[in-house]
């Protein structure tokens, strides 16, 4: 017997809403920068990305207050994205190198390192100000 079980499903699908979230707009704008300018001016509406769940490992965050530069984080970082200067007691975190495993946030005794929920971090310069945390 000849069967095509996909056909009724395809016909049904025609009347369904798309499963994808239409980010950043329902139809892809010709220029994203111009579209964002329009959004800033209030002329267009931005479709927000979906909410990330609790415990999501996004871009790394660093709070220098109370940091003792103990260098435990640098010891476990698989990407060698954390640089510790023990003499000056400073820590530099290169978010562009970070692989977001979250291991340093667990090992930090003072909880100075944490994972944020930020994930739209695409940039042309991985050493820009927002990608190097001090």
């Amino acid at each position: 017997m000849f069967r095509l079980p996909m056909v009724p499903r395809v016909l049904k699908q025609l009347f369904n809403k798309p499963a994808t979230n239409p980010f950043p707009a329902r139809h892809l704008p010709k220029s994203i920068t111009r579209f964002l300018e329009k959004v800033a001016a209030g002329k267009a509406e931005l479709v927000l990305p979906l909410e990330v769940p609790e415990g999501f490992r996004g871009k790394i965050g660093y709070n220098p207050e109370g940091c003792t530069a103990c260098s435990l984080c640098a010891r476990v970082c698989p990407a060698n994205a954390i640089e510790v200067n023990r003499e000056e007691k400073t820590v530099t975190v290169y978010a562009g190198h970070c692989i977001q495993c979250g291991q340093c946030t667990e090992v930090c005794p003072k909880n100075n390192l944490f994972m944020t929920k930020e994930f739209l971090t695409a940039t042309t310069d991985r050493y820009s100000e927002e990608m190097v945390l001090t």
Binding site: M1, F2, R3, L4, P5, M6, R9, V10, A19, V52, P53, G55, F56, R57, L72, R75, V76, C77, P78, A79, I99, Q100, C101, G102, Q103, E106, V107, M115
Partner: protein, 415 residues
């Protein structure tokens, strides 16, 4: 265009790859083609060596765990389970029971999403784009679940040597049960779409046949050997993690059709039935999972010091979605990084089965036969030859001599 006259006796040699739009990863195929028929197949991997094993010798055990996760994007839990088990054996580390169950649950979730990804890719290679979109839409729910439980869609970072990093809390059970129930319903739908479709059946039945004898001779692993009718599965044969407590039986196509062809269609059957099996395994584990600690080493520095002092070797095996993965670790005393780390990914064993499968098949069937193995080329590449002025083809004797030389070098390093 120049018209070329093909002589009936002389086959044409066609090279596809290493970089080709039809291939997702770099591998070179050399086909000898007569008309529409493939006469002879040769393949040359080795275009995507990343030096991961070398990287491990410059990192400590915890750092290497995240390197092991990145061997394969899809089997990321599988490689880290095998790596952790190897280290745990070498350094004599005990894993709590709850951690074993959690590892099992995450590994089975990965299997579901990997098999659904494969189902989509297979449909794409068949030119059945509707089914491709459907399979990937279905997969998305599990990716969301994994993100909810582990914090990331791929490279979950949930394992740790000696245990796991994240627990499944009671308030997360509702979300998991909802997803599993959803998949139980969806499974019937997928089953209908893949196995009851006449066109798909006509296309895949008796294409790319691998006989049980060849499957054994070539040491194939995973769904490929099971589709040829041989019931081997590391989870069943050498239980580890929580698999010993659970009811697991290797799936062969006999379970459904009552006969074994060893063709592409049988590989679809095996993978689809394994999705169902994985759902059942997760449900069983959720019920049986005891309450207890997640790891015996809550302090990471204690763990690192323990591994630093340990000396010995360990092996870790895991039944990844694509077949068995195997990790070998050698630890030396007073050294943070492992002395040797050897990884065997599943495609390494399955690659040579392409030769047997493709011979005598039509050109149009090449994509689906190649995809039916579920290849992962970059996981396979462990060697890069960079010496200039040497022959580019290494025979078995050459490779044996080189590997003996390396073993000798490692032995000397041990003293």
């Amino acid at each position: 265009m120049k018209e070329s006259v093909v002589s009936a006796k002389k086959p044409i040699k066609t090279v596809i790859g290493p970089i080709h739009p039809a291939l997702k990863e770099p591998i070179k195929f050399i086909f000898e083609i007569d008309g529409e028929k493939v006469i002879k197949v040769d393949l040359a991997p080795g275009h995507n060596h990343r030096g991961l094993e070398w990287m491990a010798t410059r990192r400590n055990a915890v750092q290497t765990l995240y390197v092991s996760e990145r061997i394969c994007g899809i089997c990321s839990i599988s490689h880290s389970i095998a790596y952790c088990r190897a280290i745990e054996q070498a350094a004599d580390i005990e894993v709590p029971v709850r951690a074993d169950y959690l590892r099992t649950i995450f590994a089975e979730m990965e299997r579901i999403h990997s098999h659904l990804l494969w189902a989509g890719v297979a449909a794409l290679e068949l030119g059945f784009d509707t089914l491709f979109y459907k399979a990937w839409e279905v997969r998305e729910d599990l990716m969301d679940l994994l993100e909810y439980l582990t914090g990331n869609r791929v490279n979950y970072g949930v394992l740790q040597i000696g245990g796991v990093r994240r627990d499944i809390t009671p308030d997360q059970h509702a979300r998991i049960n909802k997803s599993l129930l959803n998949y139980t319903i969806l499974f019937d739908e997928l089953y209908d779409m893949f196995l009851e479709d006449t066109v798909l059946r006509m296309r895949c039945r008796d294409t790319g046949v691998l006989t049980p004898e060849d499957a054994l001779k070539l040491c194939t692993v995973g769904p490929v050997i099971r589709a040829s009718g041989i019931a081997t599965d590391v989870r069943q044969d050498f239980p580890y993690c929580a698999y010993g407590d659970l009811d697991i039986k290797a799936i062969t196509p006999e379970a459904l059709a009552g006969e074994v062809h060893g063709d592409v269609f049988d590989r679809i059957i095996v993978r689809l039935l394994e999705v169902k099996q994985s759902i059942e395994i997760i449900q069983q584990s959720m019920k049986k999972m005891p309450i207890g600690p997640l790891t015996n080493f809550p302090k990471l520095m204690v763990l690192l010091n323990h591994i630093k002092q340990a000396e010995g070797e360990g092996i870790g095996r895991h039944e990844a979605p694509r077949g068995e993965v195997f990790h070998y670790i050698r630890l030396a005393a007073n050294q943070e990084s492992p002395l040797v780390w050897k990884v065997k990914a599943s495609t390494y064993s399955n690659a040579m089965s392409w030769v047997k499968m493709l011979e005598g098949e039509q050109i149009a069937d090449i994509p689906i036969i190649v995809a039916s193995v579920d290849p992962c080329i970059s996981c396979t590449d462990r060697v890069a030859m960079v010496d200039k002025g040497r022959t580019s083809i290494f025979t078995q004797d050459d490779l044996r001599r080189l590997s003996r030389k390396k073993t000798e070098r490692i032995r000397q390093g041990l003293k």
